[in-house]
Amino acid sequence: MRKYLFIIKTQIMSNLQYVFNIVFSFIGYFILLFILFNLWQYLYSDPNELINGYNMTQMSWYVIITEILWMTLGGRKLCHKISQDVRSGNITYNINKPYSYIGYCLSTHLGDVFVKGLIYIFLGMLTGLLFLGSFPKLTLINILVVLITAILATTISILLIISIGLISFFIEDSGPFYWIYSKIILVLGTIFPIEYFPTIIQKILNFSPVYVVSYGPAKLFVDFSWDKAVSIILAQIIYIIIAYGICYLIYKKGVKKINVNGG
């Protein structure tokens, strides 16, 4: 475990070289929020009106949180990197090191997300306060639980994306698979909460990654309840085990197919 924490620390140290790049990338996030805030203002004739259980402020905070989770994740970059590692044979340089490749990818990417996450949380909260004027009623413990669910959500996302990237062992390009995954998460959990969809789809979404990687932490942030917190954390733990299992199986099967010539 110590080595993986050290990998996270090393990645954080490396990423501190890019702090200004991260701050500038926030401009894109800010524009996106601005568009969504205007959309909600258009949809809500009265800010206190409830649509599917959310008032306008809650909807805005929901999007702030899900977008922080989504934008700090950098999923496309991660999937592309793993896919490239597999296709170019670069993965071989990690195989003969005393760590698991999956653990290494997870740790380096968590280190990546950490620096970006801190900056985005600070700037995201500031943007929310400026636009909305208030902060959801949360105790310090509540905030801690939300943070834990956000970390677990990121871990699941990373593991799922690693498993998509590892598909490159069997097919040329895993890009289309990531495209489908990203659109599902974006449309079904990031821009709209699960409650916005028909009951039958809601039932499916409650068992899908959407529930654990984006909806869960954001829902707790805007409408905290201990019942919900327990069910989300439990679901996240189960998902981590499943996602790691998928990664492990794909990797174990794929690594025997490595076909590197040259040198």
Partner: protein, 328 residues
């Protein structure tokens, strides 16, 4: 005193490579019915390496060197044969073996470019589970040995290629590996830096008794570092001998380069091969088992010679001769 720490027996590896017919039609056909061909990258090779040896493992591009190294370092699975590195089977004891071996690939960076060499060394110490005080001591020791003092706190991205390679080697030595695999460590370096790296590798081998398994296309690396050479070509082992024997085998051939006062008309004869004939400048190869050098000089007429140089065949030529003739 010596014991075999690498044992390779009847090792073979075959790859399945996709093939495609020409043009668009071929591309479409390969989607519906992909065709594959098998490439025998390594064919039934065996050798052993003893502790503390510096071995040159060489061969032309595509000979199977890299595939063999990757099987020895547990990256690839062999189809047939057995490998034991320090008593471990690389296919089964991948993790245990990783603690005992180090790898440096000259064409591949393993250092974190935004961090300093010092932070990188600490990172490698952590992934090999080495306690902090031990890592610190080791860094200090290697810093002196590899003369890193000047740039140990400069981010890797700002180092020259020679400095980076030195750091790559140090990073692979942090966990005190018993065997070090160096894959073209001096590629792209200028002659002075190359010489410096070779000296450091030699010093490291002497200091730590690290067994070094070196692949390189640079004859200088092989000549100056290795006492034994294994040559592989087309997946087969074509030579496994000491450097001394290799040179001795070819010592019976001499190169005579002469600058003449007058034009000499010389033809290939038994034991004499004309390499270059530019009228006044001649370059001939003399096979001393058939003809003495003195005989050859007589043919040239000593009074007619302005300048002369008699030398052994360069190692580079010896090796390329071996590459060309698969049956040595």
């Amino acid at each position: 005193m010596f014991m075999a720490i690498i044992e390779v027996k009847k090792l073979s590896k075959t790859f399945k490579v996709k093939i495609k017919d020409k043009g668009l039609k071929g591309s479409l056909k390969s989607i519906i019915k992909p065709k594959y061909k098998t490439v025998k990258a390594v064919k039934n090779i065996s050798f052993a390496v003893e502790r503390g040896e510096i071995i040159a493992f060489i061969g032309p591009n595509g000979a199977g060197k890299s595939t063999t190294i990757k099987m020895m370092t547990s990256i690839l699975y062999p189809d047939k044969g057995t490998i034991r590195v320090l008593g471990y089977d690389p296919t089964k004891d991948r993790k245990k073996l990783s603690y005992e071996i180090g790898t440096v690939f000259g064409q591949k960076e393993q250092l974190w470019t935004h961090l300093t060499p010092y932070d990188n060394f600490k990172f490698f110490g952590a992934i090999y589970d080495i306690p902090e005080p031990v890592v610190e001591k080791k860094i200090e020791e290697l810093k002196m040995l590899f003369e890193l003092d000047e740039f140990i706190n400069t981010p890797v991205r700002n180092l020259s290629l020679g400095q980076r390679i030195r750091c790559e080697i140090v990073a692979s030595l942090i966990h005190e590996p018993k065997v070090l695999f160096l894959d073209e460590p001096t590629i792209g370096l200028d002659p002075v830096v190359k010489e410096n790296i070779r000296t450091l590798i030699k010093r490291m081998n002497k200091e730590y008794k690290t067994t070094i398994f070196l692949t390189s296309h640079d004859v200088g690396d092989i000549e100056k570092l290795c006492k034994r050479v294994i040559i592989i070509n087309d997946g087969q082992l074509v030579l496994d001998d000491t450097m001394e024997n290799l040179k001795y085998h070819y010592l019976n051939k001499k190169i005579v380069e002469a600058k003449m006062k007058e034009r000499v008309n010389l033809d290939d004869e038994d034991g004499i091969t004309i390499i270059k004939d530019k009228g006044y400048n001649l370059k001939i190869e003399v096979d001393t088992t058939k003809r003495s050098v003195a005989d050859a000089l007589k043919l040239l007429n000593p009074d007619n010679i302005i300048d002369i140089n008699i030398s052994n065949i360069p190692l580079e030529d010896i090796i390329s001769d071996i590459y060309k003739s698969k049956d040595l």
